[in-house]
Symmetry: D2
Subunit: 373 residues, 4 copies
Amino acid sequence: MSGKIPVAVLGATGAVGQRLVSLLGSHPWFELAGLCASERSVGKPYLEAARWLLPSPPPDFARWAKVLPCEPDARWQIAFSALDAGPALDIEEAFARAGAVVASNARSHRMRSDVPLVVPEVNPEHLGLAELQPYGGRGAIITNPNCSTIGLVLALAPLAERFGVESAAVTTLQAASGAGYPGMSSLDLVDNVVPLIGGEEEKLETEPRKILGRLEGGRVAESGIRLSATCTRVAVIDGHTLAVSVRLRSRAAREEVLEAWASWPGRVAGLGLPSAPERPLLYREEADRPQPRLDRDEGRGMTVVLGRLRACPLADWKFVALSHNTLRGAAGGTILLAELAASRGLCGLKAPGRPRRPRFTRSFPIDIIRTAL
Amino acid sequence: MSGKIPVAVLGATGAVGQRLVSLLGSHPWFELAGLCASERSVGKPYLEAARWLLPSPPPDFARWAKVLPCEPDARWQIAFSALDAGPALDIEEAFARAGAVVASNARSHRMRSDVPLVVPEVNPEHLGLAELQPYGGRGAIITNPNCSTIGLVLALAPLAERFGVESAAVTTLQAASGAGYPGMSSLDLVDNVVPLIGGEEEKLETEPRKILGRLEGGRVAESGIRLSATCTRVAVIDGHTLAVSVRLRSRAAREEVLEAWASWPGRVAGLGLPSAPERPLLYREEADRPQPRLDRDEGRGMTVVLGRLRACPLADWKFVALSHNTLRGAAGGTILLAELAASRGLCGLKAPGRPRRPRFTRSFPIDIIRTAL
Amino acid sequence: MSGKIPVAVLGATGAVGQRLVSLLGSHPWFELAGLCASERSVGKPYLEAARWLLPSPPPDFARWAKVLPCEPDARWQIAFSALDAGPALDIEEAFARAGAVVASNARSHRMRSDVPLVVPEVNPEHLGLAELQPYGGRGAIITNPNCSTIGLVLALAPLAERFGVESAAVTTLQAASGAGYPGMSSLDLVDNVVPLIGGEEEKLETEPRKILGRLEGGRVAESGIRLSATCTRVAVIDGHTLAVSVRLRSRAAREEVLEAWASWPGRVAGLGLPSAPERPLLYREEADRPQPRLDRDEGRGMTVVLGRLRACPLADWKFVALSHNTLRGAAGGTILLAELAASRGLCGLKAPGRPRRPRFTRSFPIDIIRTAL
Amino acid sequence: MSGKIPVAVLGATGAVGQRLVSLLGSHPWFELAGLCASERSVGKPYLEAARWLLPSPPPDFARWAKVLPCEPDARWQIAFSALDAGPALDIEEAFARAGAVVASNARSHRMRSDVPLVVPEVNPEHLGLAELQPYGGRGAIITNPNCSTIGLVLALAPLAERFGVESAAVTTLQAASGAGYPGMSSLDLVDNVVPLIGGEEEKLETEPRKILGRLEGGRVAESGIRLSATCTRVAVIDGHTLAVSVRLRSRAAREEVLEAWASWPGRVAGLGLPSAPERPLLYREEADRPQPRLDRDEGRGMTVVLGRLRACPLADWKFVALSHNTLRGAAGGTILLAELAASRGLCGLKAPGRPRRPRFTRSFPIDIIRTAL
């Protein structure tokens, strides 16, 4: 009736799940139609099963919905997954086999060779990988990177396009919300820093290579960029801060780097995706920015804020990047990804008010590359 | 009478000044004999001029002492300086000219070619530089490095000795107390990170080169180590966390690096310096250590705690180091430096219970190098 | 042209000043026309003089405006004052004498017998006091209460109207932003509580008596409510939490208290004031609410959130109240107050799109009481 | 051999359990002989089962001990219990029946009519209640109050003795460590306050009545003091802050109240109990004290620090009290309680170096009252 695409959220009660519910509650293209979670919650009113953690109130749908099991339902065309990696593995496959497009924030399928790992502004054409998936051309699994990966990749992409990036070293100061709820104990973060986030450094050192890779012959040839990461957790609610140093393939002056960022539209500009920020990157000139509390909400939490570009005595350039980890880095990023899929007609999705595109075909990736993007 | 060396504290009311007062209040060699501060405080009872910030109570001397101006007094053989860089420049010189040994925590004279910049465990022989100072062989200025430099240098020194260090990149997560009191606003650190500490990166990139340099022909030939630093401030009271990656001159296996740290005595071992920790370095095997709140007090705040040694995809090794910034990194380090000076008889200082050494002579540095150290 | 009322902000560079600038930048009735501050800032571009502390970007006017001295200008019909108490005393008078309506957040004139101290929902008729001011019927000083007073008074007003309030005891846990910027040192608030806010308890124990008082014969007869306050500062950015116990004049069941709050419209309902929240009070049933981070933004920061109503073994009822201290408790409250003044035509103000009311006359307070309110 | 009393810790892996282990590791009277915990941990090396949370290193015994099940062992004369309330109920009884003195920090048995609930300085004679317990005169259960109760009772006891206390109202700002580990999520305490601690207000409103009660005829006649509490959690690691107002039975001037506190020795003074602080109460004159970070370690964490005594417009006096919740309020308090029991020879305990007292007899409580205490 509404013409909107009916969608479900898997793992709807957790921290990222709640962000998805919050954002989808008033989405112009998607209609919240199912809230699924683990057995413990099934059957309960959603707001009883979820301890609502956001300052903004839950949407109306969430006020009266009962929690459903994580089982496919033909009415849901998209399933947004905020599941833990363990359960995500099978559940996401089940949904894809049942014909849904699974837009996932879980790491379970990210590195699978036929699964696109996409930052829409950076590698939208990778979505084409989905056509290789064994789900009969109807369902698909498409994935959003790790929360700290996204900020790094968005900062590096314009440099990679313009100058080439040989290597990057990053130290992160990550927010508590990245660990979910309850996540980190207050005893670990008040007057303290925890210099370990399990598995995070590995993700930061591998995922960008796939995202920045080139789609050729039905597979992604990984980027040769070499990465080194140290990940720490600090007493911040939202917003991952990244201290980055980068070595470029070809020399670039400071002004050229700034210009590469400033002029970079991102590859979804002009597509009218509702969650795409006006600009994916914003450089702040103030010497002490970006800061999580002041900059995380830039572009409704979808803009990566950069600052402190200066020469690095060891590599070429150093800078600081900040991204909102549960918006750009999780819920918002996953929704933007689904919007991209809908705008391209992946698996027959049809964004409201847009001409229906032909069913997903072999020509999809080329189509993307050649036309709008 | 007590046989102790009478000492004064310059800048006694500030955060580092208070730490000095606290530590010197019960020191076995030094006797607190003067508390000096800026004009605003002169004449007031010390505890009225200083807002005492430490959990431990102030020593008796501080309870009845009046604040004096920062002017030399012949009774004080050592002046511990916690002055700001501006006033330190002239005041420290005035004290040295008047015959005192100035053990300074200020940056003003650190990089002067005839001023030793010393981490006692690392480069005690640099003290000999003081003999070149134009103070007639009686007074001297000797300096303690920047608070974040000390942790880095102590971690690197054993590697430099054993394998050579070509370069090191460090990102710091520094404690609020490093900015003094009131220092950082709570609005800047609650739910936030500030990715800038003015002048800090420059110090971290230059001071270690002098400290790790070689004393030859009456000057320090700087180490060739190349350094890159990013410094940030986080909501921690005490304890600077450093994420370090290092490239060695000769290859070393993980076990060799650990062994280099574990077996490193530091170059003041056996000298009986009261503030020297049992071990200057401690490696913790737990995957999530060191942490400021749990590890900063190791060795009464004088031990640097290391952890997370792992291969770096870009350099050779990555690790995390933690040091207490107002103890090891400031007050404690400066006192240890003065103890070293006293134990070597610099400028005629005489540690209680030790045979008086001959007056400071040209042979001092060689003496230090050849014998105990 | 715009038909909006031109206004200035006094003390525009501080924390509350910035909130005023931010809110006034897109106000439907008021047009930001001057940013005034102390001599130190005069002549500088506003964003250079002010260190912009808000996550939301500064309005366009603030981007190009230069800071002006705090001197009256005939073009400004309203002056919003976020001055410190000292300078506010004379400057606010000067503006009133020059014919402006001064809507002030400073405490300097609050308790003056001819100055209205107003929470618009509670005692709008007190505005009539302004007619007694010696400014020739043109200028006036009208004041907003202390930030913690407002939350208390809004919570008590419906109880006072319905049951009478004999006494109230309150312990506050106040946010750091209440102290301005830089305000509280991070060393005082990380892992700590400061159990003193200078002068605050006195304000909390006196201001509500005036606000809840009755306007009669050209003066306010103070309410007889007896108050006791303890004020503490905690590591929260925005949002004052108040633990209140209250003794009523006539007995009330729990349901009656809840009903009194739920049904209370506040006395500006229906006036169409742009900053008035949909509901001034919101009671949350969850056992652990209100919480600053989750509830402070309710009603765009203008709604006081209540919770935990339960019997008090000593008084009658205990509850917890939370209000946003720089919105409802400062900038937002002051703007709402000015909106009330404009809607009533105080000193000839004329809200855009409304028929101009007759010039401020002796009948004003009765007018307010008898008609709309 | 050592002459020390062999003791076990029940619930040794948790936050309070670790504090007990830490304090007992070098106790002059007690010898750590068993570390017991839940089934999940049994058989594991202690330091593997427990995530050691304290800055001070674990004692040697804890380094090699294996975790045992919570089952009585004839060798242990005292069992220190840091169990959760559920398991504590049966396990503590089993230990008492097996002949051990159980010194418990759990709430399970506190309000049982034959179980002493003791703050040693306040009501040591209540220990005599233990003789009524059905354990054959050998075993016993003796209990330590809730962490926030202790600070309140120590502050009130001198006033109750001297002036009588009619009622007290208290609002607490409690530390995160009171909730154990992991306890409170960092997302609940960073930039936030949680205005609820389940069950805490009830304990604060009932336990002091028993502690301040009079032992007569083999039972405690509760004190008639009326209490009202509001309990909140703030971002503090250790140290509960209490804002108290109190109504006295007989009038007292400010100086008299201060004098009552200053001159109060507490009723274990002179007994030589190793954990008793030099003074149980310390009043600080500074206007902004006590503060958790600065004052919690006073008297090795066993002294309650008071401040801000001022007239209360509703009751008589208001003040602020601070106590270390895991030392005085839990582990330290429980050990002090066991020391009291040992010094009085409860159940045949014999403090090292003291003449063995006769086996626990009916005369015990009278003995305590008449003699030393």
